[in-house]
Amino acid sequence: MPNRTMTRGLGIAYAIAAAAVAAAPLALNAYWIDVLNSVGLYVLLALSLNLILGDAGLFNMGHAAFYAVGAYTSAILNTRLEIPILWTLPASALVAALFAALVARPVVHLRGDYLLVVTIGLGEIVRIALVNDVFGLTGGANGLFGISRPTIFGHRLTSRKPQEFLYLIWAFVAVTVFLFHRLEQSRFGRALNYLREDPIAAEGSGVNTARYRLLAFALGAAWAGMTGTLYAAKMTIISPESFGSWESVVIFLMVILGGAGSIPGVMLGAALVVILPELFRGFASARLLVFGLVMMVMMVFRPQGLLPYRLLRFKESDLRRAEDAP
């Protein structure tokens, strides 16, 4: 049933977006290609946070911590053990997921706003740990450098050709969007939505809320971790200041501005939050001022986000088929 995951309109929108990104190197200079690269990375981060914040309704404002864990895992494996950077993707996903499960375990039951502050705290603790060169592996405030560039089928990607990273990052985005749409409709996705809307009723209907919350954290963190790998591969240098609390706040904003729980909305939110300040460059140092103002105005006039989440609707035939399924 391939056509159930998204409506036709959305499919067309994705096709246009994909064609636009694929054709971008023909029309844009290297600077804007690099902006598109960061859009891609932030789309991945925002989608991964959306699993936790949008789908499961857990206020996580420390997402950059998982991003950092992934980036550092890859960087350490690459610089110490000389494992090719893209081969470290599974490792960084795994380490980030385990880390998330470990730190979220004692706090997922907290009320929304309490969780928000605790996750800000966790993010800060991770950043401070990185600055203080924990385990002697993270290189302190200078971070890690000399991460090797990725090689795909014997072809080495270089920073002189940002369009190559464009395709790498956006291919990953495409896979992610497809998987997350599938996930949204799966038993897992529906359980997360249920516990967001009413955790008590969800628990009463046999959804193990604690377990699903942890899974949401772990999965979101795994994706943020893999995004960290891509970031490390692109930059070849990583340092703690790239993973501060501002970064977490920005990812959080993308999800809410775009429309929490809505995959196209979150992608739009990420794209706007990256691109708008670039367009405001004319305002120079006032661009964040304008950005803050835009946020307030947007929330006042469109509190549900740009492309709000809509409840999934199933056709009757789908339901009947589901009932007949073993």
């Binding site: 009320r111 706003d113 309490y114 809410i256 803050g292 307030m296 929330m299 006042v300 986000g305």
Partner: protein, 300 residues
């Protein structure tokens, strides 16, 4: 032993500043269930306004040190209260019935706006307060304690005690507590909830602005990003004490100040900022609603 007492007084001074800021967070949260992220920036706005008024009017020269500072404090607190009320009207009231996260994002937008406005007006570099206070220290129990440290603690304690009496003993304070428990029931009892909210946005920002002035006078310099770090610590303090609970904010603030001072002195200076959050996580594991929080868990 000397070091212990120095850190004790230092921690109490920093803690009372955290407590003053935390009161603004906890009062707003108590009534609106909103984390007012812009509160930290109102605090730094207070510090900068204090600097401007101090340098341009030189009140302490005309009115004498004590009276001059008092007038200065009243001016700063009044101005910040005005900003707070405007902020509530423009950025929060339209969102009162929206999803809670929209209000959080509006608050973050307000915070970014204020922070960058400060940067544009005053520049990105640290600003130094003029040296108007005597650098004296007094001997207390056999050790030298800077006068300013004692002043900070005393001022904070007086303001907090005043607030506590106001909230517990006056009619308006009772209305405030009622609105915090149940807005609908309170308005059925004839309480003007909008008025209560406005009052909260007068008192909270005024205390925060006062704390900003104290920080400027105590540390002698202010930066435009300090709102975020002080704000986060203060909010942590509010949660530690049990958010929505006024004595809780005071206890949480003082506790946090002491933890930081002792942690930095005896454990590790480099990890200073991590202690506050570490303690928060530990306490929330044991008591999910904070030290003095009694409100039962609500549905999210």
């Amino acid at each position: 032993m000397e070091q212990f007492f120095q850190q004790l007084t230092n921690g109490l001074a920093v803690g009372s500043i955290y407590a003053l800021i935390a009161l603004g967070y906890t009062m707003v949260y108590g009534v609106l269930r909103l984390i007012n992220f812009a509160h930290g920036d109102l605090f730094s706005l207070g510090a900068y306004l204090g600097l401007t008024l101090l340098t341009s009017f030189a009140l302490q020269g005309r009115l004498g040190l004590a009276l001059g500072l008092l007038v200065l404090a009243v001016m700063v607190m009044g101005l910040i209260a005005v900003v707070g009320v405007v902020l509530e009207r423009a950025a929060y009231r339209p969102l009162r019935d929206s999803p809670r996260l929209s209000a959080v994002v509006s608050a973050l937008g307000a915070s970014i706006f204020l922070q960058n406005a400060l940067m544009l007006v005053y520049g990105a570099r640290y600003q130094v307060y003029p040296d108007i206070l005597p650098q004296a220290s007094i001997r207390l129990l056999g050790l030298d304690v800077p006068v300013m440290r004692i002043v900070v603690v005393l001022v904070a304690v007086v303001m907090m005690a005043g607030l506590y009496v106001f909230v517990q003993k006056t009619r308006t304070g009772t209305a405030m507590r009622a609105a915090a428990i149940d807005q609908d029931a309170a308005s059925l009892m004839g309480i003007d909830v909008n008025r209560v909210v406005r009052l909260v946005f007068v008192i909270g920002p005024a205390l925060g602005g006062g704390a900003g002035l104290l920080v400027g006078l105590y540390y002698g310099q202010v930066g435009f990003t300090m709102g975020w770090s002080y704000g986060m610590k203060a909010f942590t303090a509010a949660i530690l004490g049990g958010i929505g609970n006024i004595p809780g904010a005071m206890v949480g603030g003082l506790l946090l100040g002491l933890v930081e001072a002792f942690g930095a002195a005896y454990l590790s200076l480099a990890w200073k900022d991590a202690f506050a959050f570490g303690v928060l996580i530990l306490i929330l594991i044991v008591r999910p609603s904070g030290l003095l929080g009694e409100r039962v868990a609500e549905k999210i």
